[in-house]
Structure formats: structure tokens, C-alpha cells
């Protein structure tokens, strides 16, 4: 449930930041004309307009919609006038409600989750529905400077006229504060810790001092911030507890059922396969199902029938990785095999995804092979292939 058809494309947006298209529903009505990927507020402008028209509930200051309407925008529904709102996020209603409510209480929202759980997608749509603008975005990287969160300077002006408001280049956060809008910070935990802490003043005092000018920018009512972070990756900068407690945290779950995940993987693989000019593969679904099953079982720590507990390896084993395993297997099958995706084509990929820590993970994988895979009906070929690769 949690990752809808559209989300899985958002994954691309999350990692690559560009292509991948914003889902099937809105792509056709690109308000901005030829944009490869229109912003959410443009793609779903009609829905937002209809919602605003139908929405008679109280709205927090500077919100385009009431919290209820924002939740409806994300979860989908039918309005009294018959307008159908497509679901942007198919997952537990609870999560969306908590997220929207958090923003309405002027607390900042932290969306946590492993890659591929539609964090960016949800944050973009929340910003679009609440402020009508999802572009006030800071992309967090290891090299994100303080200027990206506070302000920079137009050095030509600075040299020519000295420090002034005109010479100042506001960051998206500053613009959001001034305009009472929703700012977004992507991959918050990738940002170095000292830069992260810049946000503390913004979130607690709701003000951004400019000591060079002896001024400050005070947040206007309606300002809020949505951050996304990945809680499973290595090499992230943990949030300081001071910053952490300024956020309400919502964890976005992985797909709830195997069917859903198979669907997501199969669709994404088909898209990728086309772009890589791989020949179409018949009968691939069975193998995809197997990959997804292996991933889900190891990730969740129990077999699908719920009878056997398993150890979980150190890797994230996200849906995104399952996709790359299958894509890799397809390439193998197409170029070196008979074009049919078989156990042997995915075995090496799975091993690579599972065994991240050569000592501990290998034992976990062996245990899984011996206690689960070996006994399973119809998995003999897979077992053999894995034994071959692992030996």
C-alpha cells in the first residue's frame, strides 16, 4: 500500500532529481508547457483548484487549503461536485493525517524512511497543496554550505555598494520565512552537522538574523519546513538532539504487501528496460516475484508465511535495489543468456545486494539459503544458482 504506482517514479526524482516523470496522472497536463517534469502544483493545478473551491473548513494562516483538504489531496477522493482527486500517496491514512497536522501546529515535519518510500514525493505534494509552491527547496548534500540555508551575497553588488538588502541573496528558507510559505530540505542528514544546526534558530525562534546588516528576517505566519532524511544509510550526519526535537517525525513504511512491491518493481523495470534498449523479457514476473520475496523476507526478518524468523543483513534491501537487481539480471539474460530471465541471472545481483558486510552478512545469507530456500518448493534452481555464486 504505501508506495503507489506514482511514487515509484518519484524515486527517480529523489535520487536523480530530474527525469522519471511525475506519474501518469498529471504528466499530460503540463502547465509549464514542455517541462520534462512539471512541478506538482502545475501538474495537479485543476485538482487543487477544485479542492480550494469545495473547501469550506477553516484554514491556518496563509494555507491555500484546510488540513482536511490537504489530506484529501494526498490520499485521493471524490469531491461533492464530482471532481475526482487522484491519490498521490497510497498508504496508511494515519501517516498523512499526522504529517498534515504537524504542519498545521507550526512544528517542522521530518519524513524518515529508506530510499524508495516516496518521502520526496510526499513532501513536494504537501508543499504544493499547502503553499501552492513546491520549489522552495534546499537539496542536502555533503557539500551544502550554510548559505544555502541562510543567505548568500551578490558579490558584485557587495563590493560596489557595500552590504545592503539588495546585495543579499536569500535562500529558499529565507524566502519561505518572509512569505509564510513551506520550505523543503531534502536529505537533511547528508548535510554536515554544523550546517544542519543553522536550522535550529529558524525553527525555534522563527527568525533569521542578518548580523552584517543588523537586521533579521522574521518568519511570517504560515511558514513551515518539511525535511526528508534517510535513516538506514551509512555515512549520514545524525541530527543533533536540539534540532531533532524541533521536528515531529513521521516514518514512511515500505510497501505493505508483496503484490504491491512486485507490481512496483515490474513496472519500473519495464520502464528502465525500455530506456536501456533491453529486449522485452517474457516470463520475467516469476523471477521478479522471487527477488521481491527474498528482499522482503530478509528485510522483514521473517518468511512470507510468517513461520520462520530470519536475521536481517546490514544492507537496506530497498525496493530500489530490487529494481536494480532485476535490471541487471535482465541485461545478463539479454546479452549473455537466452533472453529469459532465470535464477542464475539474478543470483549474483542478490548476493551483492544482501552481502554488504562480508563477514556477518555472508553467514546470514548462507543461513537463509540453507534454512529457507533449500526447502522451498520450486526454488531448487534458485538454490543451486545461489550456491554456485556464493561458493
Amino acid at each position: 500500500m504505501p508506495v503507489p504506482s506514482a511514487d515509484e517514479t518519484a524515486e527517480t526524482a529523489e535520487t536523480a532529481g530530474t527525469a522519471g516523470a511525475a506519474g501518469t496522472a498529471g504528466a499530460a497536463e503540463t502547465a509549464g508547457g514542455e517541462a520534462l517534469r512539471p512541478h506538482a502544483e502545475d501538474a495537479f493545478a485543476d485538482e487543487l483548484k477544485a479542492l480550494a473551491a469545495a473547501d469550506d473548513r477553516p484554514r491556518p494562516a496563509r494555507w491555500r487549503l484546510s488540513p482536511w483538504a490537504v489530506a484529501t489531496y494526498l490520499l485521493g477522493g471524490t469531491l461533492p461536485d464530482g471532481t475526482v482527486i487522484t491519490p498521490k500517496y497510497v498508504g496508511p491514512r494515519r501517516i498523512v493525517e499526522v504529517a498534515v497536522t504537524t504542519l498545521a501546529t507550526d512544528r517542522a515535519l521530518l519524513l524518515l524512511g529508506v530510499p524508495g518510500t516516496a518521502k520526496t514525493w510526499v513532501s513536494e505534494h504537501l508543499a504544493a497543496a499547502i503553499s501552492g509552491d513546491s520549489t522552495l527547496l534546499v537539496q542536502g548534500t555533503a557539500g551544502t554550505p550554510e548559505e544555502a540555508i541562510r543567505y548568500g551575497w551578490n558579490y558584485a553588488r557587495l563590493l560596489a555598494h557595500g552590504p545592503s538588502r539588495e546585495a543579499l541573496v536569500p535562500s529558499p528558507v529565507m524566502r519561505a520565512m518572509a512569505g509564510g510559505m513551506t520550505a523543503r530540505v531534502e536529505e537533511l542528514t547528508r548535510i554536515p552537522a554544523d550546517v544542519q544546526d543553522t536550522l535550529i534558530t529558524v525553527l525555534s525562534e522563527k527568525t533569521l538574523p542578518i548580523p552584517e546588516l543588523g537586521e533579521e528576517v522574521q518568519a511570517v505566519r504560515g511558514f513551515n519546513l518539511i525535511a526528508t532524511a534517510n535513516d538506514r544509510d551509512r555515512g549520514v550526519n545524525e541530527l543533533s538532539s536540539a534540532l531533532r526535537r524541533r521536528f515531529n517525525t513521521v516514518v514512511l513504511p515500505l510497501p505493505a504487501t508483496a503484490e504491491e512491491e512486485v507490481d512496483i518493481v515490474a513496472r519500473r523495470v519495464a520502464q528502465l528496460g525500455r530506456s536501456l534498449d533491453l529486449p522485452a523479457v517474457p516470463e520475467g514476473v516469476a523471477e521478479i516475484r522471487r527477488v521481491v520475496t527474498v528482499f522482503r523476507e530478509l528485510r522483514g526478518g521473517t518468511t512470507e508465511d510468517g513461520r520462520t524468523k530470519l536475521k536481517s543483513p546490514s544492507g537496506t534491501l530497498s525496493t530500489a535495489e530490487a529494481i536494480s537487481v532485476v535490471t541487471g539480471g535482465l541485461a545478463l539474460a539479454a546479452h549473455f543468456g537466452d533472453g529469459v530471465l532465470r535464477a542464475g541471472d539474478v543470483a549474483a545481483g542478490i548476493l551483492g545486494a544482501v552481502v554488504r558486510d562480508p563477514a556477518a552478512d555472508r553467514v546470514i545469507w548462507q543461513e537463509y539459503l540453507e534454512t529457507v530456500v533449500r526447502e522451498r518448493d520450486g526454488w531448487k534452481d534458485f538454490y543451486r544458482a545461489c550456491r554456485e555464486v556464493g561458493a
Binding site: V98, T101, T105, T249, K311, E370
Partner: protein, 930 residues
């Protein structure tokens, strides 16, 4: 059926409003265990002051109700009804502090107002339940559920009963009846306009509220019940009894009791019952009709008692659930005078702080804000448990479910244990124990005495089971003592001593069940779930077998499998395996079905097999010594397990060729391949080839391989006495490799260990020795391995520890050296070659190894060494290869003369080998005939 009164406005027909306007009899329809209902009931009773209080519950409880006022009585408690003579047949009426019934009982007792229970007598309901349902434990819990009428639950036959609350909630636009009830009734707070805006807008409560605000206290207190009764009447008019078939009878009885009470106490009586029953009680029927319904009901002799209860058991998902998932939350709502949300969040924060989570007051403030706003967004009058939990998760727990689980366990459910005064009548568990004691002629005596049990006798076996079960329940009447004399597994010695406090323990154990068996089962299950260490669970499994608790075994096994899967320390697994395998064997001895146990043991063995080799690398001396112990324990366990669970050699013919036998053949192949990969295992003996050959070829019939090897053995025996051993040994080995996957794979593990660099010499030596003892090392292989280790390239200390592993540990090791002169020669040559400076390092190790030998062995070894080394690799005579360790020039005739005696000693003529032999004779006979 009968009860469905037509929808009408309050007051109900037959009710006579008195001067103050209270409609008598006062029908207070409630949701069982609803704190809001409890408050409303208290308010209504306070306002109306009835002369008698009638409560939905078994009338046999009338005699016991007085205990509720006693000092020692602390809810949650339950009224327990059980059939005399069969305590297993029981039903519970749990009461929590916030149960409306409890509130009503306490209200009446404190004012000296008589209390009567008006439901169908337990004598009938137990008998009816017994007649309609199969006698299972589930039935008793279902009885209890039947009581919480509003609880939507399929009845045993699988039909969904009409859920009256669900209907009302749906009408009000709620998808969850629990939430609807919470919003409309439970969140009504104390009176109206309570601090924190606790009034409940919307729904039925709201309809009642305006009256309450303007009318008198009395009208305000009664109005919600009237409104609710009306709604129920409307529902029942539409749905009849709604699938609750016994209700007609129960309600008839309630009406009769109500009439009785009105005759006795006058009209001013109050009835507290499930809201669903209100229309039926208000309806107009004749006493004759009601009596007719009650005629001919089955009956058993029932007895009632109070038993302590816990919040956990009130919760839906455990045992005799009362149908409320959050007793702790309800209790909180019931007790909080004002600002329930703020108080709750403060409690949660306190708990989290105690658990070392950093939670500040700022967190609490934000959590309260979030919960309130969330309730507003969801359109609820007040933050309920769902909103509160969401807020706790997002703010206090930072999105993590781990601390949230603690909150749920400790606060939302809560750890409250009820108490029952000592004067209350004995619990059924005690009676069951007394009866069992009588039937087993085992009197509780304060004097300590010893009891010898012979488990082959029925009575003694039953006594043993009873004592084991009691021990599981913490009633240590008997403690196992070491048997004197006989050491047979069928003997048990107990030391018995009954101490007064054991009676208290028995009373406490009453929480777990009504009979010793069911209580011990429940206790064992709970222990299994709570156990943290793997060892605890294995021990528990053993105790379950001893106590004969087959029903607890699946739960214990599941817990065991789960712990085993998650335990990363292979040492723990290796320790657990022997005990488990013993259990499997012991269970076999006792005739228990241990299939599940064996399966878990197999799973455990698999994990050990996978995890053991990596765990052997990079160990220090102590670690290696410990690991050697594990290695031996696992070796024995695997041997036993393979015996208990015969592999493909026996199941081959029946198993489909492509799953069973082929898989095993494949595994055997994999095992050999692994050994080759490890590098050092070379040629197998001729016999082994014969066995392994078919397996390698992937022969679809595993038995074929084994049989072929058997034939090879047989013919070898026919051919010449000296080759008998090699041949039949090979046959066995072949059977083992081809048939028994576990053993074969264990062999592969040992092989890889024996030849692995980086593994301590102690372990490598031991692995080699275990292989040798099992006959898995090919001829000359042991000598090769030893030579390899003792060659100059190996550090002397390492070599010495290898020696300790290989020939250390008891007399058997020494005998090996005595009999295999080649090994002794190798050792001797190495020792003399050790450089002087290294010798002092090696000496303690060697000394430790040799000191463990018997004096005789040591002397023999000394003599052999003094005599000088035998030619280790002397030229072999053409007659055939010499057996390992024996000199060349074997006299075959003399050797053959011994064979019949050896066969006799080993009993080979009667074993399956003999059978094979027989079989071969037939073959040969047929060949001759052909």
C-alpha cells in the same frame, strides 16, 4: 426473538416515573468495561438512589458479592464459574475498576443496598455451552466473549453476529465502532462542562446533553441511558436477536429476576446490563412465557469463586479476553479528574524517561498540541487513543516504534494485577490439585520425604507429570533429587515437602487456569514468550516434555525457532542443540509426538552447520577450548539427530525422486565438493567410492546408492576376510553420504575445519579426530593430516595444540596412538625435531595431553617409544594393503579365524547388516539359479 421491543420513546412501558421523575425500574445499558459508562452509572445511581441494584451476571454470585467490599479485594478480578468435578469447564466474568458493573457493586455495597445478579445461572450457561460447543478451551473464552455483547466477533460457527455498536457507528459516519462509542459515551467526562471541554458533541450523547444541561441532576444522569436504550430498541426492532441466540433465554431469566426483585424491594430498582439487553428488559412479556423459555435447560453443578485478574488478560489479544484492547488507557480515563490528555502525556513522558529516552517538557507540550489538532482534523470531539498514540509516536518517540511498544505494553495495556481476599472460597485450581492428589494417593505432608518413581507404571508416571507441572507453576512441592542406585531413564527420585506458603502459590497460579494441566500449559506458553535467552527456551522445552504439556509445545517450539534464528552467537546455538536433541530422544522414549521438536532441532542444526566454520577463525586459546567443546557436543547431537530422523536411505523409496533422494545426493556431492575446495581431502577408499559413486551420478533413487554400497560390502566379505571391514565400512559410509544429508554435511563442515588455515590447531585436530572416529577419513588421510601439521613449517606451539585436539581428551586418544604406530612414529619424529628453545613452550601442552591418559596407556606408549619407531611407510606386501597402523605381512588365515567371534560379539548376524547379508545370499542364490 422475544426481546425486540418496538421503538418508542422513554420511559419504557411498565416503568413508573416517581415524583422526582426517575423512570423505574432504572435500566442502565452500558458497554462492559467502558469507563464512560462506569461514570454515567455512578452518576445515575447517585442521583436516583435505588433500593436494589441488579447486575448482569450469574446469580450464583449473589453469595460472593459481599467480598467485593472487603479490604483485600482489588480489581481487576473475575467471577469464575466452573462445573463441579470438571474445573476445565469454566467461564469468567472479569471486572475492572472502571467496569460499570464493578462501580455499581461497590456503590451498592457501600450504602448497604442489596445486589443481585440476574443473568442466566452459570449452572445452565456452562451446560449449554458444553452441549453446543465442543469441549475446548476456546469455548470458555467464547463464553466470556458472549458476555461482551457489543464486541464484534464471529461466533464459533463462523457467522458474524450483528454488531449493534457497528450499526450505530456506521449510521453516525464512523468506520470504527470502538471510536464511535468512545466519542459519544466514554469521552463524556464527569457530568457536563467538565474542565478541558469534555462534553461530547454529536451523536446520541449530544442529543441527551441539552436535557442534561437544563434539567435536574437526575434527568441529566438518566437521559443518556434513555437515549442509548432507544437506539438499541431501534436496532433490535430491525435485527432481532442479531445472531445472539442464547440471548432470548438469558433475557427471559433477567426479566424474571427483575420481577422477583420488584416484588421484594418495590419498584425502585436499578439494572446494570449490556446496552443491547435494555429493550428486552423494558419489553412487555408475561412471566409464564418467560418461564416457558427457561424450561428444560441443561444444568451442571457449578461453583463460583473470585479470582485475581490482570489488565493483560482483559486485553483482547490474550487468553480470556474481555474485548478491550486498552485497559490501561481506560483506567486512566476513569481516574483522571481533569485534563486526561495532558496527564496521559506526562505519564508517557515519565515512563520514557525511566527507560532512558530523552523526553523534555517541551516534547510533552508538542505532543499534546499535535494530539489535539489531530483530533480536530479527524473531526473528533476529543483526542482518543489513536490520536494520542500517533502524537506519542511522532513527537516523543521520534517516529520509532520501539519506545512506542513499551508505552503500549506498560501504559496502554498496563501491568495491573488484581487481588482477592484470602477468605474468599477456594479457586478451582486448588480443588483440581486436591482431587489429583487424592487420585494419585499423594498426600501433601509437611514432613520431607523421598519418593521413588518408576515411570513405566501408570500411576508413577502421572505423579511425575503432576510434580513437573507444579514446578512449572512455581509450586515447588517436590524437587528432583539424584536417583540412587538405578540410573535408568525410567526412574525419577523426588524430595517432597508441602509448606504452607505453597497454598498461596497455588492460589496465585489460579490466574493461569483452572486445572493444573491448563495452568501449567498457559504458564509454559507465557514463559516461552517472555524468555530472552535461547537456553531458557530449550530448558523449557525439556520441562514441557517432562510435564507432558503437548499443547504448550508448539508455542515453545515457535519461541525456540525464533530465538535460534535471531541468536547470532553460534556458541549459544551449539549449547542449545544437545539439550534439544536429548529432548527429542527422551520424548521418543515417553511416546510423545516430537515431530515438531525434531523439526526445530533440525533447523537449529542447520544454523549451527552454517555458522560454526566462520566462528572458528581467529580464536584465542580459551575461545578455542570452548569451541572444541561445542564441536564435540554438536558432533554427538548430529549423530543422535541423524538416528532419530533417518535420512533418505529409508525415506528414499517413498519420497518423490526429484525432491528427496536427488536433493540428498546433491547435498552429498556438495559436501564432497566443499571438502575438495578446502583442498586436502584426496582419494576416498574403494568402499567409499562404491557408495559415493552412485550418489555423484545423481542416481534418482537414494536407496539404490545405499543398497549398491551394501552389496559391495557383502561381496567384499565373501571375497576375503581381510577386506570385510573396508567393504562394509564403505557401504555404511556410502549410505550415510547418499542418504543422510545432515550427517553428510556435518562431515563436510568437519573436513573444511580440519583443513582450514587460520583455525586454531586445537579445533583442527579435534575435527580430524572426529572424522577419523566416524570412519570418514580415508585410509592414510589421518597420517597425512598429522604429517602436514607436524611438518617443520608449522610453529611448534600450534602443532602441539593440534596434537591435543587430535589425541587429547581421555583414554581413547591414547589408545589411538598405541594402536596406530604410524601416527605415533610421526609424533615421535616431530617431537625429537622440535628445537630446544621451542621445546619449553610445547612441553606444558603435551604434558597436559598425555597426563589425561590412563597409567596403562602411558606405560604402553613409553614402551613403544623405547622400542623405537616401527617402519612407518614400509613396503607393503603384494597380498593387499595393510590396515592403518598395522605392520606389513598380515596372516590372512589367522585373521579370518577371528571373524566369526567378532561378528558374534558385535551382534552383526541379527542386525540390519545381517539382513543385507541375507539379502545378498538370496541374490547369489538367484544368480546360481539363473
Amino acid at each position: 426473538m422475544t426481546g425486540a421491543a418496538p421503538g418508542r420513546a422513554a420511559p419504557p412501558p411498565g416503568a413508573r416515573p416517581d415524583a422526582a421523575g426517575a423512570p423505574w425500574p432504572l435500566l442502565l445499558g452500558v458497554r462492559h468495561h467502558g469507563p464512560g459508562s462506569a461514570r454515567a452509572v455512578r452518576a445515575a445511581l447517585d442521583a436516583c438512589g435505588p433500593d436494589a441494584v441488579l447486575i448482569e451476571g450469574p446469580p450464583e454470585g449473589d453469595a460472593l458479592v459481599g467480598f467485593a467490599a472487603e479490604e483485600g479485594m482489588r480489581p481487576p478480578v473475575a467471577l469464575l464459574a466452573h462445573a463441579v468435578g470438571d474445573p476445565g469447564q469454566a467461564a469468567f466474568w472479569p471486572l475492572a475498576e472502571f467496569s460499570p458493573e464493578w462501580v455499581a457493586i461497590r456503590w451498592a455495597l457501600s450504602r448497604g443496598v442489596p445486589v443481585r445478579f440476574i443473568d442466566l445461572p452459570a449452572a445452565n450457561s456452562l451446560a449449554m455451552a458444553d452441549r453446543t460447543d465442543e469441549r475446548t478451551d476456546e469455548r470458555t473464552s467464547d463464553r466470556t466473549d458472549g458476555r461482551t455483547d457489543e464486541d464484534p466477533r464471529p461466533d464459533p460457527a463462523g457467522r458474524l453476529r450483528v454488531d449493534p455498536l457497528g450499526m450505530l457507528a456506521e449510521t453516525a459516519g464512523y468506520d470504527d465502532p470502538e471510536r464511535w462509542w468512545e466519542d459519544v459515551v466514554e469521552h463524556r467526562g464527569v457530568g457536563n462542562g467538565a474542565p478541558g471541554g469534555l462534553g461530547a458533541p454529536g451523536g446520541i450523547g449530544a442529543a441527551a446533553d441539552p436535557d442534561a444541561a437544563v434539567g435536574s441532576d437526575l434527568a441529566g444522569a438518566v437521559a443518556p441511558f434513555a437515549a442509548l436504550g432507544e437506539a438499541m430498541a431501534a436496532l433490535r426492532a430491525e435485527y432481532g436477536h442479531g445472531g445472539h441466540e442464547h440471548d432470548a433465554v438469558r433475557e427471559a431469566h433477567m426479566r424474571l429476576r427483575l420481577r422477583e426483585a420488584r416484588r421484594e424491594f418495590g419498584d425502585r430498582v436499578a439494572v446494570v446490563c449490556g446496552a443491547w439487553h435494555v429493550p428486552a428488559l423494558a419489553g412487555r412479556t408475561t412471566a409464564t412465557a418467560d418461564r416457558g423459555l427457561l424450561k428444560g435447560l441443561p444444568k451442571v453443578r457449578a461453583e463460583l469463586s473470585w479470582v485475581p485478574w490482570t489488565h493483560r488478560r482483559l486485553a483482547r489479544h490474550s487468553g480470556y479476553g474481555a474485548g478491550i484492547a486498552s485497559p490501561g488507557w481506560y483506567s486512566h480515563l476513569f481516574h483522571a479528574e481533569d485534563r486526561p490528555l495532558e496527564r496521559w502525556m506526562t505519564k508517557v513522558a515519565g515512563l520514557l524517561r525511566a527507560e532512558d529516552f530523552a523526553v523534555s517538557s517541551a516534547h510533552v507540550i508538542e505532543a499534546v498540541r499535535l494530539a489535539e489538532t489531530l483530533a480536530a482534523v479527524r473531526g473528533r470531539p476529543l483526542a482518543g487513543l489513536a490520536e494520542t498514540t500517533d502524537a506519542v509516536r511522532a513527537v516523543l518517540c521520534e517516529g520509532s516504534d520501539v519506545p512506542l511498544a513499551i508505552v503500549h505494553d506498560r501504559l496502554v495495556v498496563g501491568d495491573v494485577l488484581g487481588e482477592v481476599p484470602e477468605a474468599a472460597p477456594a479457586a478451582p485450581l486448588q480443588r483440581d490439585l486436591a482431587r489429583t492428589q487424592r487420585s494419585l494417593r499423594l498426600k501433601p505432608e509437611a514432613l520431607e520425604r523421598e519418593l521413588e518413581l518408576d515411570l513405566r507404571k501408570e500411576t508413577d508416571a502421572a505423579r511425575s507429570r503432576l510434580l513437573h507441572r507444579l514446578r512449572l507453576l512455581g509450586v515447588d512441592w517436590g524437587t528432583p533429587a539424584a536417583s540412587r542406585g538405578s540410573t535408568g531413564t525410567f526412574r525419577e527420585t523426588w524430595r517432597l515437602r508441602w509448606e504452607p506458603e505453597l497454598s498461596v502459590r497455588v492460589a496465585e497460579a489460579g490466574v493461569w487456569g483452572t486445572t493444573v494441566l491448563s495452568a501449567a500449559t498457559a504458564r509454559a506458553e507465557a514463559k516461552a514468550v517472555d524468555a530472552t535467552a535461547l537456553g531458557e527456551v530449550t530448558e523449557l522445552a525439556e520441562r514441557c516434555l517432562l510435564a507432558a504439556l503437548p499443547d504448550a509445545l508448539p508455542v515453545v517450539m515457535r519461541a525456540l525457532a525464533d530465538r535460534a534464528a535471531l541468536d547470532a552467537d553460534v556458541g549459544h546455538l551449539a549449547q542449545a542443540l544437545p539439550a534439544l536433541v536429548r529432548s527429542v530422544r527422551y520424548g521418543d522414549v515417553r511416546g510423545t509426538d516430537t515431530a515438531a521438536l525434531a523439526e526445530v532441532a533440525m533447523g537449529l542444526a542447520e544454523r549451527v552447520l552454517v555458522g560454526l566454520p566462520p566462528a572458528c577463525f581467529g580464536l584465542d586459546a580459551d575461545g578455542a577450548a570452548e569451541m572444541r567443546g561445542h564441536l564435540e557436543a554438536v558432533h554427538q547431537a548430529v549423530g543422535l539427530l541423524a538416528e532419530i530422523r533417518p535420512g533418505g536411505a529409508e525415506r528414499g523409496p517413498s519420497a518423490p525422486p526429484d525432491t528427496g533422494a536427488l536433493a540428498d545426493a546433491e547435498r552429498a556431492e556438495a559436501g564432497l565438493g566443499g571438502a575438495d575446495g578446502a583442498g586436502r581431502v584426496v582419494t576416498a577408499g574403494g568402499g567409499e567410492r562404491a557408495g559415493a559413486g552412485p550418489a555423484d551420478a545423481g542416481c534418482p533413487d537414494g536407496a539404490g546408492g545405499a543398497e549398491g554400497a551394501g552389496n559391495a560390502g557383502g561381496s567384499a566379505e565373501a571375497g576375503g576376510g581381510e577386506r570385510v571391514e573396508a567393504g562394509s565400512g564403505g557401504g555404511e559410509r556410502g549410505a550415510a553420504d547418499a542418504g543422510d544429508g545432515l550427517r553428510g554435511r556435518w562431515g563436510a563442515v568437519l573436513r573444511s575445519l580440519a583443513g582450514a588455515d587460520g583455525v586454531s590447531g586445537l579445533i583442527r585436530g579435534r575435527a580430524a579426530r572426529l572424522l577419523l572416529d566416524d570412519g570418514r577419513l580415508a585410509e592414510g588421510e589421518a597420517a597425512r593430516l598429522m604429517g602436514l601439521v607436524l611438518s617443520p613449517g608449522t610453529a611448534p606451539a600450534e602443532a602441539a595444540s593440534w596434537i591435543e585436539g587430535f589425541v587429547g581428551g581421555g583414554a581413547g586418544g591414547g589408545m589411538l596412538l598405541v594402536h596406530d604406530e604410524r601416527l605415533l612414529g610421526l609424533l615421535d619424529r616431530w617431537l625429537t625435531g622440535v628445537p630446544a628453545e621451542a621445546f619449553t613452550d610445547v612441553l606444558p601442552l603435551l604434558r597436559r595431553t598425555f597426563a589425561a591418559y590412563d597409567a596403562g596407556v602411558r606405560r604402553t606408549l613409553g614402551e613403544l617409544v623405547r622400542r623405537g619407531p616401527a617402519p612407518a611407510d614400509g613396503p607393503r606386501p603384494a597380498g593387499g594393503p595393510a590396515a592403518p597402523g598395522f605392520g606389513p605381512g598380515l596372516d590372512e588365515d589367522r585373521a579370518a579365524a577371528v571373524v566369526p567371534v567378532v561378528r558374534l560379539l558385535l551382534g552383526l548376524d541379527h542386525s540390519h547388516v545381517g539382513h543385507d547379508n541375507h539379502h545378498n545370499h538370496h541374490n547369489r542364490a538367484s544368480e546360481v539359479a539363473g
